[in-house]
């Protein structure tokens, strides 16, 4: 079983969480790929919709975003790690996620009264975990982050979804507890 960890930090501030997630997933028998997105050459999505109507299923930009997309689709477990920026994902992580619309079909469906796209790979079951890090306590940002992850769940439609928020300066044990809790909530680890 493959697990993909996407680290959206600009520095090494997510390292304790990334290491904890990698260790927990490895001990559960997952083949773990951890990607520091800042080291990858991933251009911003240009909004051309080429991945729907020119090269269906594949972004027309052939940079490192292509390999990340391939790993994203083929992983059973997705762990998104990010500093929380204005309540959402960092630039690095969002750049990769913006390139993920190739995982959807252009066609619409009604889900719970709202329009959403059909999944291109509805048979691939994934569990998604998003963990955000705040540099200081900020209730509003934490709320927006949780809501964003929940809303992403409507689009990515994973089998299970969870999110957690950590604070800068937390020690290793706390990081491990946070990651374990989020993974457990998504049915990945107890």
């Amino acid at each position: 079983m493959k697990a993909l960890i996407l680290d959206g930090s600009e520095g090494d501030e997510m390292a304790p969480l990334r290491d904890a997630a990698a260790e927990l997933l490895s001990t559960r028998g997952h083949q773990v790929e951890a990607v520091a997105l800042r080291d990858k050459n991933i251009a911003a999505c240009t909004g051309c919709f080429g991945c729907w109507v020119r090269t269906p299923g594949e972004c027309v930009i052939k940079d490192d975003g292509y390999a990340v997309a391939r790993s994203f689709v083929t992983a059973e477990v997705l762990v998104l790690l990010t500093p929380i920026v204005f309540g959402g994902y960092s630039y690095q992580l969002k750049k990769a996620l913006d390139r993920s619309i190739c995982f959807a079909l252009p066609f619409f469906q009604n889900l719970g009264g709202e329009m959403h796209h059909f999944r291109r790979y509805p048979d691939i079951e994934q569990r998604m975990v998003a963990i955000g890090r705040l540099s200081r306590p900020d209730e509003e940002q934490a709320k927006v982050f949780a809501e964003l992850v929940r809303r992403n769940g409507r689009n990515f439609q994973p089998r299970a979804l969870s999110s957690a928020v950590t604070l800068a300066g937390e020690d290793h044990e706390t990081a491990v507890r946070t990651v374990r809790g989020a993974l457990a909530q998504a049915g990945v680890a107890e």
Binding site: G47, F86, Y91, N155
Partner: protein, 222 residues
């Protein structure tokens, strides 16, 4: 008084974000305002561009940020631009910020999280949050000037007219403008139909109509 429009769509000049922002600024110009516009993606390409972006915000009496919804939130370049503005802008002047968000679904409510993120940006940048207008059904504008986009977008124009009137008088975006912008442009079923037909037509033009359901990564999974 001077307003600056920051266009957050990677599609730049041809974007619905530019159409909405330009219409609003046009209305403000009719009321005696001066205006300027900047394209976020272009500005981020160089240190000079980033400096110009920050300088434009510092020099403005009103900042209008217009962008499309990408994966439920702000497009990545908008996040980077916000980072730069928070880090670099001069402290002190609490310039009002207004956001215009458009998405490709029919429900304006799908823009809610992006607007909350804009409010957090205003807080962190020392700007004054003057509200946002959320639009669903952005493809109905399709980057055309709003004045040429037909009757389907009459509420969009009316909303921006109301907003411009309030902003010009030093007031935030009024609730009536928010409500008008959020009204669905068509029934959901019609938007489904028009949208699905449009994708098929584009694929046919590109000679990939039969490949729309391709799953290029599925084999690697098996």
């Amino acid at each position: 008084m001077k307003a600056v429009l920051l266009v957050g769509s990677p599609r730049g000049e041809r974007s619905t974000s530019a159409s909405l922002g330009r219409y609003l600024l046009g209305r403000l110009r009719e009321k005696g305002w001066r205006s300027d516009e900047m394209f976020v993606l272009k500005a981020l390409r160089s240190a000079e561009g980033q400096d110009a972006l920050v300088a434009a915000v510092d020099a403005a009496d009103l900042v209008v940020l217009s962008f499309p919804l990408y994966v439920d939130a702000l497009p990545a370049p908008v996040i980077r631009a916000m980072d730069v503005i928070v880090r670099e802008r001069e402290a002190g002047k609490r310039t009002p910020l207004v956001a215009l968000v458009n998405n490709g679904f029919i429900e304006a409510s799908q823009d809610d999280i992006a607007l909350r993120m804009c409010r957090l940006f205003a807080r962190d940048a020392g700007l004054k949050w003057w509200g946002g207008l959320a639009l669903g059904g952005g493809p109905a504008v399709d980057g055309r000037p709003l004045s040429e986009a037909g009757g389907m977008v009459r509420n969009v124009r009316a909303s921006l007219d109301l907003a411009a009137g309030a902003l010009a008088e030093g007031r935030p975006v009024p609730p009536e403008a928010v409500e008008l912008m959020a009204r669905p442009l068509t029934p959901q079923w019609l938007f489904f139909h028009l949208g699905n037909m449009g994708w098929k037509q584009q694929a046919r033009r590109n000679k990939v109509r039969g490949r729309l359901y391709d799953r290029p990564f599925a084999k690697e999974k098996e």
